[in-house]
Amino acid sequence: MKVDVAIIGAGPAGLTAAVEIARNGLSAAVIDEYYRPGGRLLGQYYEDPYAPADQRTWDGKKEADQLEEKARSLGVHIFMNVTVWAVSGKWRVDMAGGDLPAITSNVLLLATGSVEKALPVPGWTLPGVISVGAAQTFTNLHHVAVGKKVMMAGIDPLSLSVMIELKNAGVHVAGMALPPMSSVTGKNKTPLQTVERLQDVAGLAPNLLVRKLGKFALKRFPKLTASGLRFNLLKVNNVPIHLRKAIVKIEGEKNVEAVTLQSVSVDGKPAGKTESVEVDTVCLSNGLYPLIDLAQTAGCRLVDMPELGGTVPLHGPDMTTKVSGLFVAGNITGIEGAKVAMAQGRLAAASILQSLGKQAAITVDEAMTEVTNAREKAPLRFLPDIEEGRIKMNKIWEAESAHG
């Protein structure tokens, strides 16, 4: 099969780009390993009080279904349960698991999203220990409880919102604790740093936290920091948030049976006693990082950029790369929410259309403004310094462009 644009990743960025490309008269194929389109949209379900009245409930699955329907009605080829194992030439996309061995295209758009960062702790290979993303997917998409009694480790915007989702779905969450404080694997996870980060996030985009953590959070967090975290325990939706206890061990023979929590000082040193809490499930949260493998094999230079969540392909503010015919969009460019990814998908489509000399319904500049707007209105911010990261990337991009 030959298409104008091959898109890898059927998440918010990839699907939105496909719709935009097909709507402007070019052919597109979207390929994804998952069994249904939507990517991280599929697990999302939350309320956003700052959104327009008719958009306050964000039902990611519904959004995904609508995008899929739109794409299909525009003739976009969607390949699900298909793994891309190679991209080469300009372009051949080698696929496994489906009927076709490969497709070729003039343009390649990588919207491969992100992977969860592991949070190793003794016992974390036991069945019953899952990532926070898995918890979200099983709860909101599959409607299967991840366990009967759940402890969450890692206190951050994503784990907090998933905790609420678990509660809303009727799952018993026994509590949330800090991740382990090991010197080799537990960087920047002390109680103080955790609270500071939450405060950053709350200050920048308070919507979710105001609602979810209650007014308590915004008002008290600064004081908590100032007073050296004398308040060790918050309760959100009746779930204890242990700001001064870190998970140090997951126990069990064949499955998770309990977790060991260790009291820690504000700077993360063990202080005081340990306790064992019986649970059958542990949810680990440590953030996301961009999945860049295909970009690297396609010849794209990579840049380490912690502000964007890890290593990202060098790209311009319009989603182009230095490799001709290669574009990127979504979390592969830095960790942000679904609405930003969708705006980036539309922007990538506009840039692709422009590169192919096609008139687009939206100009590249307009699409860039939409990305900025989506970022400003994001209900949930994963990385505190995302804007700084974007600026840094643009500077590197400009410097590289100046050199030709």
Binding site: W85, A86, S88, R92, D94, T297
Partner: protein
Amino acid sequence: MSYKVVVAGGGLIGASTAYYLTKSGAEVTLIESKDIASGTSGACDRAIMLQSKKPGPTLDLAIESIALYKELEAELETELEYRKSGGMIIIETPEEMAAMEHMVERQQKAGIDVKLITGKEAQERQPGLSKDLIGSTWWEEDAEVNPLKVSFAMANAAKSRGAKIKLGTPVKRLLTENNRVIGVETPTEKIYADAVVVAMGVWTPKLFEPFGVDVPIIPRQGHILVSERMPSFLHTGILSAAYIANKLKRNHQSEDPDPFGVGLAIGQTHSGSLLIGGSRQFTGYNTETNPEVIRKIGEAAVRAFPLLAKARIIRAFTGLRPYTPDGMPILGPVEGMDGVYIAAGHEGDGVALAPISGKIMAHMVCGENSGMDINTFSLSRF
């Protein structure tokens, strides 16, 4: 005062040279731009297949080397996964049969007891082989070893015998004084030595370029596919006749009908993964894997072992084999430059020849008699 030697290059050959130098009592500094086995030695297979090797100096070296391998696990007190596995060269076409008959006849004359066996005998010896094979060779003396383990064990043994190992330290240039090499320069320091051994594989020529010395080593890229872990089923090392044909091609300047030089070389690691090679291609210093080459190697593997169609390839890599025009390594001093030695250019024989190469270099540098005629391997032959 003991003899000071710098070894440049931390691959199999450099690590082995450093190890044997410490055994000879030299004061050794091993300098490596990245890490032990980070280049060719970390991107090769485990075969020590000698049955097809043309009788002559390289084969003689290899046989000496195998004798060293047999003692090395005990000597280094490390598991190297050395095993006398025997080896087969599988034959798919009548043309290949003719070539292999010729090869076997030649080897037998030289006293190497390689046999031709039928396709059915090959299947009995190695279950899973395709029924379509028309025959195979078999030699029980072929062996295998884990080149990563050998590299690290040699480097560690050298270190525990007092060698200094500087990783992440590129050798920028050779320091000379009146046509004599007196040491090397790194980004941070000058290291003076009585002798320098350059064991930088495909990167060796670059160090000699400034002196107008042409070292005819050319990188020849080889792909290797790695399968998921499987139960141990491969009892022996296996090459295809096509692999041998491609290996023997000395055509780095001519057009080739099979530009990828694909032939099968398959072995199983202790972990259970299959290492499936290979290709031979002149692509400069490029080490990217190519999906088309990967596919062709996959085809060769499934042709030989139809049931591998159900196995997964979990990764692939390429290594840059240090090719020389006559297929023999360069071991020895450099004419017109005192104090410097080359130990490089082993192409696919580095694994087999690592111990003996290191030992020879140590003897040479320390002025000991290795009892071998090694002039054959000197740079001046080109």
